[in-house]
């Protein structure tokens, strides 16, 4: 279970997160929804340890993560724009996390991950030669292959066209369920959030305004902004 407890984060002296508060239960996927600039990515980066947390705490199963360096947190983060390593081929990208775990025989796991995202046989392709949808799938496979205990996806469908998005949305949900993933999916699109997540968290100006399922939120919106944003 991940608990984000009242954290404040500033970047270059500008406050980005203010008292942000969110809990994600085991096996649960939360859809983090909010307008751009509301601090969604920063929240993920705080959990990953890529930005400093000024106050508050982030805990995994009760133990604070704040003093654990990024690479020991055992998390998965899929970046906006994918951030695939251009100097490595598809298999090396997907196998990077396994390599860090000193997995001596990553081959089968890499193939399995690629199969899962529908890219069986892509092992030796250069990442530069992939289409946008293929890059997205490689990035997902790379994030999931090391089997992280907690997964964060930052606008995973961001740059893709509508048809592709609709298709991948469903596919992604299946993969997350099948792997029993605990995690957060960031998006600015309500339908995407609903399709991929069990529960929604609404974020505005660095604060989590309301959490709950879509129908819970629609029934009892916390304020006018929430009502306008989700409907």
């Amino acid at each position: 279970m991940l608990e984000i407890d009242q954290i404040d984060v500033s970047i270059e002296d500008t406050p980005i997160l203010r008292q942000a508060d969110l809990t994600v239960g085991n096996g649960e996927v939360v859809g983090l929804l909010g307008p751009s600039g509301s601090g969604k990515s920063t929240l993920l980066r705080a959990v990953a340890g890529l930005v400093d947390v000024a106050s508050g705490d982030i805990r995994w199963d009760g133990a604070s993560l704040l003093d654990v360096p990024t690479h020991r947190r055992g998390l998965g983060l899929m970046f906006q724009g994918y951030a695939l390593f251009p100097h490595l081929d598809v298999a090396q990208n997907v196998g990077f996390g396994l390599r860090m775990q000193r997995n001596a025989t990553p081959g089968p796991l890499i193939s399995e991950a690629l199969e899962m995202v529908g890219l069986a046989g892509y092992e030796n392709r250069e990442v530069d030669s992939l289409s946008g949808g293929e890059k997205q799938r490689v990035a997902l496979a790379r994030t999931l292959a090391p089997q992280p205990r907690f997964v964060m996806l930052d606008e995973p469908l961001g740059a893709l066209d509508r048809n592709l998005r609709r298709m991948l949305m469903t596919e992604m949900r299946e993969i997350l369920t099948e792997r029993e993933v605990t995690g957060i999916v960031v998006t600015h699109d309500r339908d995407e959030a609903v399709a991929m997540a069990d529960r929604l968290a609404l974020m505005r100006e660095g604060t989590i305004v309301q959490t709950g399922t879509l129908s819970e939120i629609l029934d009892r919106p916390a304020n006018d902004w929430v009502r306008a944003f989700v409907s």
Partner: protein
């Protein structure tokens, strides 16, 4: 449809030939032709099997090779901390630091040699290596940091999130991404140290002779042109081999990675501040020590005002500054145009022809100044007698500077994706317009780095200049050499003052170029 396509291809191919012609003619006429002519003159008298020839070649060739390799490795190591600091963080004085490292690059070897000796270095191989590092750190810092500072930070973060520690991330992500830039910088450092002359003479004594030193000795002192020509050929073979290995290495890795736009670097915080601060201060202190010794020597009575006066023997020393700036401006213009056209031609085509063309352009860096200078004398009397023209000075400088422009612009040009050009073409841009609107703005930043190097190379050039018969015009390095060549405190003091002035002008020009570069970036 089919014929239309063919015509289009053909016109593109002719366009390529057009772009490649200018640099090919430039390097062909001012480098390849004179070198072939002078080697022909030398070799026509050669009797193979002259006694001790092979042993001497082997000894000198081996020393040249290992000292150049070791110098290159040491330069890379010494440059790493500072490169890291200026690539990763924004801090007060960052621009000044990157400008100051360029200063040693232009200082005449005789001045630096004197400074090293007065700092307590003795004649030894260690001193040679130290001076090589001192001279070339700028090449590594500036070439590598221009790529490093633009690596997408998310790639590093992705490595961290996937479980790689800071060191592993550096080794597995950053370093491979920097590899083309490191290879480019290393090849230039290698060529410079492979052909080292003044440093080896002053700090090595005669025990250590590079091929360059031996060529000079055989040709100029002993009039043994055949032996000098054989040595020059060995040198050319060595340089070509090194370049070939380098180009093979470049090819095996895709160099065409998307280069992110400029980004704002973070300021260092917490313990990082101390680390960055001490790295910068320590690196600059070591680099500046010889300069500080110069500076303190220049502070005698009237040394600086003496420069502005008229000296009975050398005329007005300050006039040499104007001459140097003029030559440097012309050399920079020539090398930027030629270098950009060459880089455009090389990046447009992959294949053997491009590869060899690229290597040909690099060769002047690795060819001895004697060979080029004497080559000019035997070759350049047709169609116009250029042998004693002042144009030879900026042309010789430009020959050495073109590789800098090519090396710094080529990776960027290769990284421009074809779709961008296609998009512009679809929007109605002619190939020339495509180049002007797409390639040129993107490459201009890298071109500014290259031009900056070209300018600085020209300001400090001494070797090639001194083997060209030229009108009696002083550049700053020849003026310094002249002042150092006569007895008396004032002569020495004025030489040091002029060196300090040269260092200040260099730092100023480099800072101005860096600034122009940032302004340029603001526009896209």
């Amino acid at each position: 449809m089919d014929t239309g396509d063919g015509r289009l291809r053909r016109s593109i191919r002719w366009g390529w030939v057009g772009v490649a012609t200018v640099p090919a003619l430039f390097v062909g006429y001012f480098f390849a032709y004179p070198v072939v002519r002078i080697l022909d003159v030398g070799l026509s008298e050669l009797s193979i099997g002259a006694s001790g020839l092979q042993a001497r070649l082997l000894r000198v060739g081996w020393f040249t090779l290992w000292q150049a390799s070791l110098s290159t490795v040491l330069t890379l190591l010494a440059a790493t901390p500072l490169t890291w600091a200026v690539s990763s963080y924004e801090f007060k004085g960052r621009r000044l630091a990157t400008a100051l490292v360029a200063v040693p690059f232009v200082l005449p070897t005789v001045v630096v040699g004197t400074a090293f000796l007065s700092l307590g270095f003795v004649q030894s191989i260690g001193s040679i290596l130290a001076a090589h590092v001192f001279f070339n750190v700028a090449v590594v810092v500036r070439t590598v940091s221009s790529v490093w500072s633009r690596i997408d930070p998310r790639l590093i973060e992705a490595g961290r999130v996937l479980g790689a520690g800071p060191w592993q991330t550096f080794r597995l992500v950053t370093l491979p991404l920097l590899r083309p830039a490191i290879a480019a910088a290393s090849s230039i450092v290698f060529l410079f140290t492979f052909t080292s002359f003044g440093v080896v003479l002053i700090l090595g004594g005669f025990r250590f002779a590079t091929l360059e030193v031996e060529i000079y000795r055989q040709a100029v002192n002993l009039f043994d042109l055949p032996l000098a020509a054989s040595l020059a050929i060995v040198q050319l073979i060595g340089v070509t081999t090194a370049l070939y290995v380098y180009s093979r290495y470049q090819e095996s890795r895709s160099a065409s990675w998307e280069v992110a736009g400029a980004r704002l670097l973070p300021r260092p915080r917490g313990a990082m501040r101390w680390l960055v601060g001490s790295v910068v201060i320590a690196s600059l202190t070591v680099l500046m020590a010889p300069l500080i010794s110069l500076f303190s020597d220049s502070l005698g009575r009237g040394f600086y005002t003496g420069l502005f006066g008229s000296d009975a023997v050398v005329g007005s020393p300050i006039a040499s500054v104007g001459n140097s700036l003029r030559f440097a401006a012309i050399a920079t213009l020539i090398s930027t145009i030629v270098g950009l056209m060459a880089a455009a031609a090389i990046s447009a085509r992959r294949g053997t022809l491009s590869k060899w063309f690229d290597m040909l352009l690099m060769l002047p860096l690795g060819t001895s100044a004697v060979t080029i200078g004497f080559g000019f004398i035997v070759a350049l009397d047709w169609p116009v007698d250029l042998r004693a023209s002042f144009w030879l000075i900026p042309i010789a400088h430009a020959l050495v500077a073109v590789p800098f422009v090519v090396r710094t612009t080529l990776p960027t040009l290769r990284s421009i994706r074809q779709e961008m050009r296609d998009a512009a073409a679809v929007l109605g841009a002619s190939p020339w317009r495509v180049w002007r609107q797409i390639d040129l703005p993107i490459v201009s930043r890298a071109a500014m780095v290259g031009s900056g190097f070209a300018f600085v190379v020209s300001l400090g050039e001494f070797g090639a200049t001194s083997f060209v018969a030229r009108p009696n015009i002083h550049t700053v390095p020849t003026m310094i050499f002249r002042l150092l060549g006569r007895p008396g405190e004032v002569s020495f003091g004025m030489a040091m003052a002029l060196s300090v002035l040269l260092a200040a002008i260099t730092a100023g020009v480099v800072m101005w170029l860096d600034r122009a570069r940032v302004g340029e970036l603001g526009r896209f």
